[in-house]
Symmetry: C2
Subunit: 287 residues, 2 copies
Amino acid sequence: MNTERLSINQITVKNSSFEETVRGLARHGIGWLGAWLGPVREYGVDRAAKLLREHDVQVSSVCRAGFFTGENPDGGGLDRAANQRAVDVTAAIGGDVLYLVAGGVRDDLDLEAARQAVIEGIAELVPYAASAGVRLAVEPLHPMMCAERSVVVTLDQALDIVERFDPAHVGLAVDTYNVWWDPNLYAAIERAGERTISYQACDWLVPQPHPLFGRGIPGEGTIDIPAITRAIGSAGYAGPIEIEIFNEAVWATDPDDVLSTITARFGRSVLGPASGRSQAREEPVAG
Amino acid sequence: MNTERLSINQITVKNSSFEETVRGLARHGIGWLGAWLGPVREYGVDRAAKLLREHDVQVSSVCRAGFFTGENPDGGGLDRAANQRAVDVTAAIGGDVLYLVAGGVRDDLDLEAARQAVIEGIAELVPYAASAGVRLAVEPLHPMMCAERSVVVTLDQALDIVERFDPAHVGLAVDTYNVWWDPNLYAAIERAGERTISYQACDWLVPQPHPLFGRGIPGEGTIDIPAITRAIGSAGYAGPIEIEIFNEAVWATDPDDVLSTITARFGRSVLGPASGRSQAREEPVAG
């Protein structure tokens, strides 16, 4: 079983504490964690770094900083200090990729101005992140999240931003759920090349069980994830592959079962066959 | 009040019968209807044509034919005969624009093949529609509908299809709700030029009250509808503007109140000010 590149995002086992998550990953032979700031802070940043080292689990990415438009579904404007603290935590736990979420539409409904604010906000954060050795990952979210969370919604648009910066400091994050529908998907992946610094995989369920939490374990939905994995690999990305799943049924399942299922399916449903773009849909892990 | 171009889509007053809808439009001085096949058939196609003439209401478009990928959320594969009957109904009630919905992803998860099937399906329907004097309108749906309803999800992608055909027979349908998030929106509208043959306006509500029925009356959400209206006008479209709203709270409101609100707001929230791209959000009509 080739699961060397498998990373589990903390949200996939949302109801597990940081400590339970790290111990669970180690138990399942999974060497990477996609961390979230909240659980890390709750456990304690220094303790978290120590726990990760003890269990030989590396941080594939940290979620998240950003909201450069000043619009955040949780309220509050652009918080520069919080973004810098996110950089600090990322570095402290040995991470070198920090996800950015652009922020939503502002009251003036001016998308162009909001998008310009994202570029300016990133430019402002780059020196701080660079000096901490943390790369900022620009992630296009699904267009259905444009209003509330991210005015950055396509790979090409994200690349237009990323290409303004030194690739040592700013890169692209690709999440299958967010980008699979894009008619320009494969061209954009090729265009990104080694500027892709993080890759997350999860599936699109039909029907979507929830407007935000409709993501499935790879193999359960409508996305040809192996084809995307191969394209990203051909373009130059060889890093960890994070499984990030927002799904209430998955959250209600025993985390050990979730990790077992993901590990067992990873080869076929994420890495995929050597050729061909089709796969049978798998039985869902939960609900 | 400049409401000459105002059209009401049948779905906006979903709980009104065809007859109630036509009489309501006439009562409110609204000269255009975006018709749906079901209510027209229920009332009777010939009677419907007569009722429209008697009330001086014209058909701005008919919804819908398509599902060329063979995937339809209501089940069933590609139904060529049903598509031809949709053309017949459109012509019979004096319409000359028939909306096409592409269809969703197939079991092989191959988006490219599904998109090719859409092109082939349209090509097959064109001669029949052309001989009936009906133009086929290719509508990109929002990417969140890619899996189940439409593998055509952006204006540029729809234009790549439309441009394969004679503009007398196939054109583009622009719906603000489906396309507002697109970073290439204004360039695509300009590219479309007079190939845009139908324009629908509705707003994106925050939060979305329902994954499918989250559309608001113009002025209630996050879309700068006047800016899009102006861009479409500059590109050459001067036809009716349909208000098409999927929203349970709107459906639960007295249809006369809905028509009054839309009519009252049409000038400001759809046609918009002569310049400037911002507008205050308006109080919702319901719920």
